[in-house]
Amino acid sequence: MKINKKVLNKIFIGYSFLGPPILGFFVFTLFPVVASFVLAFMEWDIITPAKFVGFDNFIKMINDQDFWYYVYNTFYFVLAIPIDLAAALFLAILVNQKIKAVGIFRTIYFFPVISSGVACALIWKWIYNGDYGILNAFLKYIGVHTPPNWLRDTTWAKPALIIFGLWKGVGYQMLIYLAALQGIPEELYESANIDGASPWQKFWHITLPMLSFANFYLIITGVMGTFQVFSEPYVMTGGGPMGSTTTVVYSIYLNAFQQFKMGYASAISWFLFFIVFTVTMIQWKYAGGKNYYY
């Protein structure tokens, strides 16, 4: 390619606009990624110089029973995604109805998404309190005499966090579904009406297939998001009781920033990366290749 001054000038202007984000990427993303990869094979407590230890960190991780428990906890949270999506779709269909003041409902459902996560978590901690929490007061009122002590119960702490996460995040997914729903051409429903389709058939054969691209997007981002659950256990349970809400990312935080085992934490990070990467590749392979209706 022949380059004259004018073209060169244009290139320069173009890249000078690209420069800051690229610089940011190098400094804040690429460098930490490379550094954590190197650190995964080292032992480093930040102050004393790092020491090369080979695969010790990974061996330690594989032999660490607690670690596998945290992996189990993390997968448990991933199982909540279908529930999240079903709830979001249900809400989206509700607020897609042509009724008065639907904007108010949309706002209400979306409100938790824009609220401060920590503030919400603190309020839910109160709601979940075993003695004077409003949830258990309600459960007792409707006849559940011994409701669980949610966040202080190894069985119920994870579901409690999932319910909180659902409340907090469902608005966003609802919004995506709502946009997708409104993009479905009216004609499809009209012709289905002419053919005498029932509402259920219309949902099953028109709405759901037309939403498959939204589903795909939400599942992929949802899986990535839940593999990285951190703030809920951090604020609400501190990873307890008995480690039952400690996720992989929370254990990375504990190891790196509470106990300053940077090498071990990096090894776990790369393990998590490979899980997320594999799961996402599988999703692309089996869901991403299909033809959508768009």
Partner: protein, 435 residues
Amino acid sequence: MFKRAIIVILSVLVAGVLFVSCGNKNALKTENEVVTLRFVIGGADLNYNKLVEEVCRNFESKNPNIKIRFEPVSGQAYGQKLLTMFASNTAPDVFSLEAQNLPSFIKRNAIVPLDSFIEKDKSLDVNMYYPAILEEFTWGGKIYSFTDSMSPSVVYYNKDLFDKAKIKYPSGNWTWNEFLEVAKKMTIKDERGIVKQFGAALYDNDVLYFVKAWGGSLWNKDKSKCVYDTPESRAGLQFLIDMILKYHVIPDLKDSSDQGSYEIFEGGRAGMFVGGRWYTVSFRKAKVNFGVCELPKGKIRISPISTHAWVISSQCKFPQQSYEFIKYFCSEEVVKYMMAQGDCVPPIKKLAEMEFLKKDPNFPNEDNTAYIKTMAYAYPFKEYLHPDISWSEVDQIVWAKNIDGVLLKKYDIATYTKMVQDQLNKLIGEKKTQK
């Protein structure tokens, strides 16, 4: 074209690096010139920061050759920020450190001992401090810090609630069993059996206090082994757990976390509160009519001290000036000033036993005798610490995870103490092989 793009990106990167490195000016200075000390404290509230700032300015006016650049760090990320500064060779000259983090910094040679300065310094008598305070900051025969303020643990009681229940105020000459009896009387349950008012609340997750008070210990004498699993430890822990699970006189150690246990006391929902003097600031604000008495006696009578350290970093460029600053910060003058704020106990014996005991016109209803009596048997936090294992690792094992099983009745105390002992001994073994 691709090549050019790379050149452009690289030049931007280089420019960035140059830009950053320009900010670092390190000129060597001689003794007579004005030097600037970087002084970082963390995790303190705004009020305390203001006090510290004032101390810094006073120091500057007395030492015109030393300027203090005061950088308070707020929030919980102080430890991380400090380490990051160390890693990037921008550590402050002087900084604050919670007593429990001292061994981690000493082990990594991140802070320097004060002994060489003290030897040269004729004007300082270190024995003016309480021995427990000196003990707190002494590791491997070397002393790393003094302090300006501290507090042993005592019992606060809500006089109004005691009057209402027609119970005599505790005298301080009592045992934990007597404490339990009082707490039982102070506990009020509603018709559903839910506790409306607790007998007492504990400020901290200090299970190790109960172990010690019943004659047990976490470590053996030379800290080469964990000896947690003894009948004494189990008896102390059993007493604590019974207060929670059997008698329900104190809140579940972890359930109260959405409302700090001192807030329960402050709100009149607990008759007594075990903690240090720094809480009295908010008690006064909440207009709690409180009295102070000594901690009850277990097998032996003890009380843990809480305090913080002022240390010189190993990257410090002006160690002598830094020493002068720390010395001033922990001098009689500043200790008196901190004492007047009414949130601590002076670590200097003479002050504590004279002026501190006089009635302070600002707090006319308060009697400080209990703190000073307590100092006779107070012990430093150091007794929980291990030179090779960081406190957060110990805390994870003793407190964070394992004790949940006891509180949730999944296993008994003997299982718990055995578990802690095995895990800590394993950790000691790992650290040894690393060496």
